[in-house]
């Protein structure tokens, strides 16, 4: 092993992009600066998912980002021939990666200096499947996200912020005291993984296409396998919430995708009979309530998920046995333990 010193292993940073040249021009310089500072042979891979068949007459992302990329020690743009979406683009980038560690980065995320080292150190522990930075929202000052827990709300799974991070803490030094906290999942837009665990069969489940909850599913499989996802408060990035998907997709489709995938996640992962009973009762109650209130959206989301119901059950059957039940895993993955 050549990289015995914690935090010194080289990393491949993979950035999936769909018409995000402006974001990238704004946010990549900080990444490049950090990789240069580390001088560990890190690489930067931007996956252009705009869909460019040979002969298409549009500006190449590589040209648009030439100024940024030329300053990077090792950077390149790979182009998808057709628009594939988030998960397949990540898969493409991961297959291109040379290093054993892969940092997934969304174009609307800005990194702060030193963001990689604590994450790499966290992954020294083989039980840690992924490590995520503390995510500061661009619009909310000191508000932090990403330290998520999986809550159970009236028969449905829900993602909530675990209040373990002192969100009012005003300086990074105050966070530095905390090494790593458990989290239900690592934001797909800012997290460090092992390349081999992200590629191929271990990658994101297409059940959750087009987007949202695929990263939760990936993380939850790690928890089921007895591994952990952690957030390292010393590592900091800034996130423009829904900066990328929100710009390209009408809200109704975004919401439909979120709600559909919330249900598919439940059908794939909830294994305790008590919770399943609650969930199915809540589903029927939702149908009755929606019918009484003419709330068509709730019905349409449920139907949307049911169209993939059989797929969800197949994915459920294909899961290896879990080390603990759904509720126990929720408790383990909850830094706040407030559920």
């Amino acid at each position: 092993m050549t990289h015995r010193e914690p935090g010194r292993a080289p990393v491949s940073v993979v950035v999936p992009s769909y018409r995000d040249a402006d974001w990238l021009a704004r946010n990549l310089p900080a990444v490049v600066a950090e990789l240069s500072r580390r001088a560990r042979g890190d690489e930067l891979i931007v996956v252009d998912d705009r869909g460019a068949r040979p002969g298409d007459d549009h500006e190449l992302l590589a040209d648009a980002l030439a100024d940024v990329l030329t300053t990077a020690p090792d950077a390149r743009v790979v182009v998808n021939e057709r628009n594939l979406g988030f998960a397949p683009s990540v898969d493409r980038g991961v297959r291109e990666a040379r290093h054993a560690l892969v940092f997934l980065l969304n174009p609307d995320v800005t990194v702060r200096a030193g963001f990689l080292d604590p994450l790499i150190a966290a992954l020294e522990d083989p039980e840690v499947a992924a490590a995520a930075p503390r995510v500061v929202r661009a619009d909310g000052g000191a508000d932090a996200e990403a330290l998520a827990r999986l809550a159970w709300r009236r028969g449905f799974p829900a993602l909530e912020l675990a209040d373990a991070l002192d969100r009012d803490a005003s300086s990074d030094e105050e966070h530095a005291a905390t090494a790593a906290l458990p989290a239900a999942f690592a934001l797909g837009g800012a997290s460090l993984w092992r390349r081999d665990e992200l590629a191929g069969a271990g990658a994101f489940d297409p059940l959750f296409a087009p987007f949202y909850w695929e990263d939760v599913d990936r993380a939850w499989r790690a928890w089921r396998g007895g591994r952990r996802i952690v957030v390292c408060p010393r590592s900091v990035v800034v996130h423009e919430n829904r900066g990328t998907i929100g710009a390209a997709v009408p809200e109704r489709y975004v919401r439909a995708a979120i709600e559909k995938n919330r249900l598919l996640f439940a059908w794939k992962h909830v294994d305790e009979p008590r919770r399943l009973t609650e969930h199915l009762d809540a589903l029927r109650a939702r149908v009755l309530s929606a019918a009484a209130r003419d709330d068509r959206e709730a019905l349409a989301w449920l139907c949307l998920a049911l169209e993939q119901g059989a797929d969800a059950l197949r994915a459920r059957d294909a899961l290896p046995a879990a080390v603990a039940g759904f509720d126990e895993l929720r408790a383990r993955s909850d830094a706040g333990r407030a559920d």
Partner: protein, 828 residues
């Protein structure tokens, strides 16, 4: 394809042209394979006001009926039922039709059409009357005279307001339901006819002027709403060229004319039943349909009377049947008149009765006095092979373009009588007319034309949606298409899929679950139905309460005004009575004066007689004295009467002034009432505005509070750090002062100026030398001290030994106790 059809009413509740046609059209579409969802209104006291009920009446054909049980509160409320547009919007949400086809928007109003647009549902509107330009779709005044159209092709709001006021006056005077939208003046009591005339034609003053101004403004704005709604539909149609022309002249867009078809099958069958008639058989005429004044049944009766009269002693044998709905005033008037002229009146009939009715007629009369839009009865008569004589109004002439009928001047009994006589007398002419009856457009033909249009609209709509999806990232398009497909399904289909899907899930996830227990648990957890009902009930209660409150306030004001008016009328009556009394007293006094004069004359005559007849003097003197006495009595009486008259005059003057005061009070009360109304309206508007403001303020306050909280927390932290830094600065300053003091003391000791850095090394060297010199001297002194101490000790020891020898060791020890400890060891 799923099609929603909007119409204000349906048979069997309402059987006039548009409603019958709408149902036939719906059946024809359903028969063509289109799923048809009809939305209509009904009165059904067994259901909640504004509740909806869906009923399947044929394969692929369902009718949702909105119960409208409460009577309209005002003129606008007749056309736009409060809450109906929202109910219709929920219907659209539930049924998600691909197209909305509007046969009539009455009731649901402009809001209903907007609801469809808001949901991206293409709307086809078929106009059957000029509602879009006139609000009063008959374009007649309440007294059945024409409503004048302005240069903009529309009636003035001024006339519409008068019309509304006249109708309100009519309704106040006659029991509800005894008249239609219009009524003939000659059917009304004289006073009511005069009141209507005054409202419609005279300059308005006082309260009426005020109400008129308010109504004019309201109606103008409502007319704008309707026009905007009709303008906003995707395809605007009219059922005749004549109507299309009127609408266009009134500023409403009309894209195409689609004539109405009729359900001709049963009627065609009746054609066969009639068979061949003897060409000399008397002419059987009929007026079919609502026997409302605007339909002109009274004109038909007058014409028939003239026709019979003209025939003189020769009995032409012609008959006239009036079949249709008429109630109250009309029914009475028409029956009486029909009895006079020997015509028959039967009641309302349903579409099923029509073939039999037509089978017994040779001629259908359409004597309408309003600008009819191609009446259905013409096509129904044609379908049964019966020719028509109709008024030259509206789009009637184009209905007879292809033959089958004769036109007469509207509201002209002479012209109609002439036409009837011509046909009755000249049977060849009648036969020719009957032969020229064209086959009418069938409902199936019409339905097919619409279906083509609807398909085009759906295709265009789908294309637009597909284009919208093209703008999405490619990987998302399939998902978006799935969302769009579900979005287009009716709610019941979504519910069916959802429940089936959940059942399937459960079978897999919890195979041992008891389905009944599962359903019970779900019902327990579903808050929707309870909440929905509670919300609806709450909303209805509050709406009812506020409307009751307003009504009560209005009634109280009206009662007060009526009381004032009654009091005034009472005073006026009293005044009139006093005047009458005074006049009678005057007349009496005049009569007395006349009597007095004649008595004086008589006295003079008697005097003369007395002078002339001395012989009778004694007797006469007695009589004269009596007469004198009588004169004196009459004089006194006359004076008393004059006084009484003067008194009556004074009293009249007093009453007049009192009456004036009362009138002034009444005016004041009216003004106050008007002010109160204005204040109530202003307060309501202000209340709404304040509620809005309050909401906005609350929102802003919450935001500000959140910001203040953040800022305060940050300020606290900063202050804390500032205080820490301050105390650290203080500590450092103290330490610096201490060091400086030390430095100064050192400088003083070394004799160096503090600023003179160059002097320091030398001074230090000097100090070190001095130090070592002093150290050296000190050590020599120390050494000398040690030596001298030893010397002293030796001398002491020598002296002690000498003493001991002399006085003994014990005495010495006692004398020199202080040295014992030092010397004890050595001494013992």
């Amino acid at each position: 394809m799923r099609l929603a059809l909007l119409v204000h009413g349906l048979p069997p509740e309402r059987c006039t042209g548009v409603e019958v046609h709408a149902l036939a059209l719906a059946r024809a579409w359903a028969a063509r394979g289109v799923q048809v969802e009809v939305f209509t209104q009904c009165v059904d006291d067994s259901r909640d006001h504004l509740s909806q009920e869906r009923e399947g009446i044929a394969p692929r054909l369902a009718v949702t009926r909105l119960a409208v049980n409460r009577p309209a509160e005002d003129e606008r409320g007749r056309r736009i039922v409060r809450g109906a547009a929202d109910a219709f919007a929920r219907f659209l949400d539930r049924e998600r039709p691909h197209v909305l086809h509007v046969e009539h928007a009455l009731g649901v109003g402009p809001g209903g059409l907007q609801a469809a647009r808001d949901r991206g549902i293409p709307v086809v509107h078929q106009a059957h009357d000029p509602l879009a330009i006139s609000l009063d779709h008959l374009v007649l005044r309440t007294d059945a005279t024409p409503l004048p159209l302005g240069a903009d092709g529309r009636p003035a709001a001024d006339d519409l307001a008068r019309n509304a006021m006249a109708r309100a006056a009519l309704e106040r005077a006659l029991p509800v339901g005894s008249h239609g939208a219009v009524v003939l003046r000659e059917w009304l009591p004289a006073a009511l006819a005069e009141e209507l005339r005054a409202i419609l034609d005279d300059p308005l003053t006082g309260d009426r002027a005020e109400e008129h101004a308010r109504l004019s403004a309201e109606l103008a704005s409502e007319a704008d709403e309707w026009r905007a709604a009709f303008d906003g539909v995707d395809v605007s149609c009219a059922s005749s060229e004549g109507l299309a022309d009127s609408l266009r002249a009134g500023g409403v867009r009309v894209d195409r004319v689609v004539p109405c078809g009729i359900d001709a099958a049963a009627l065609r069958a009746s054609r066969g039943e009639r068979g061949e008639r003897d060409e000399h058989a008397p002419l059987r005429c009929g007026v079919l349909g609502g026997l409302r004044p605007h339909k002109g049944a009274h004109v038909a009766l007058a014409a028939f009377e003239r026709m019979v009269a003209d025939a003189g002693s020769r009995d032409c044998g012609a008959t006239l049947l009036l079949a249709g709905e008429a109630e109250g005033l009309e029914a009475g008037a028409l029956r009486a008149r029909a009895a006079d002229v020997g015509a028959t009146v039967t009641g309302a009939f349903t579409p099923d009765d029509l073939p039999a009715l037509l089978a017994d007629l040779d001629l259908v009369l359409v004597p309408s006095i309003w600008p009819e839009n191609a009446p259905f009865v013409i096509r129904e008569a044609f379908a049964a092979g019966v020719p028509v004589v109709a008024s030259r109004v509206g789009a009637v002439p184009e209905s007879l373009d292809a033959g089958g009928g004769a036109l007469v001047a509207p509201n002209d009994a002479d012209d109609l009588a002439r036409a009837l006589r011509d046909l009755a007398d000249d049977r060849e002419r009648y036969a020719a007319l009957a032969r020229s009856v064209p086959a009418p457009l069938t409902i199936q033909d019409e339905a097919a034309r619409w279906t083509e249009l609807h398909r085009d609209l759906v295709a265009a709509h789908d294309e637009r949606r597909a284009e919208d999806r093209e703008a999405l990232p490619e990987h998302l398009r399939a998902f978006a298409a799935r969302c769009d497909t579900l979005h287009d399904l009716p709610s019941r289909e979504l519910v069916r899929r959802a429940l089936q899907g959940v059942d399937a899930l459960e079978k897999d996830l919890l195979p041992d679950r008891d389905p009944a227990a599962a359903l019970a648990a779900a019902l327990e957890a579903a808050d929707g139905p309870r909440e929905a009902f509670a919300t609806a009930a709450r909303a209805e209660r509050s709406a009812r309460a506020s409307s009751d409150e307003h009504r009560a306030a209005r009634d109280a004001f009206a009662a007060k005004a009526a009381w004032r008016e009654d009091a005034l009328r009472e005073r006026e009556r009293e005044l009139a009575w006093r005047e009458r009394v005074a006049r009678e007293a005057e007349a009496e006094s005049e009569w007395r004066a006349e009597q007095l004069a004649s008595a004086r004359e008589a006295l003079a005559a008697k005097d003369a007689e007395h002078r002339d007849a001395a012989a009778a003097r004694d007797a006469e003197r007695e009589r004269a004295r009596w007469l004198q006495e009588r004169v004196a009595t009459l004089d006194g009486e006359a004076a008393w009467l004059r006084e009484r008259a003067a008194h009556a005059d004074a009293e009249r003057a007093w009453h007049e002034s009192t009456a004036n005061d009362r009138a002034a009070h009444l005016d004041e009360a009216r003004a106050a009432l008007a002010d109160l109304r204005a204040t109530i309206a202003a307060l309501e508007a202000e209340r709404d505005w304040r509620a809005e403001q309050a909401k906005a303020n609350e929102r802003r306050a919450a935001e500000a509070e959140a910001r203040v909280g953040d800022a305060a927390a940050r300020a606290d932290a900063s202050q804390h750090r500032a205080r820490a830094l301050e105390s650290e600065i203080d500590d450092r300053a103290a330490h610096e002062a201490f060091l400086r003091g030390e430095l100064e003391a050192l400088a003083r000791a070394l004799g160096v100026e503090l600023g003179d850095d160059a002097a320091w090394p030398d001074a230090l060297a000097r100090a070190r030398e001095e130090l070592s010199r002093r150290t050296h001297a000190l050590s020599s002194a120390t050494r000398e001290l040690a030596w001298r101490t030893d010397e002293m000790r030796a001398a002491c020891a020598e002296a002690s030994r000498g003493l001991a020898r002399r006085i003994g060791a014990a005495a010495l020890r006692r004398a020199r106790g202080w040295t014992i400890s030092e010397r004890e060891g050595g001494a013992s």
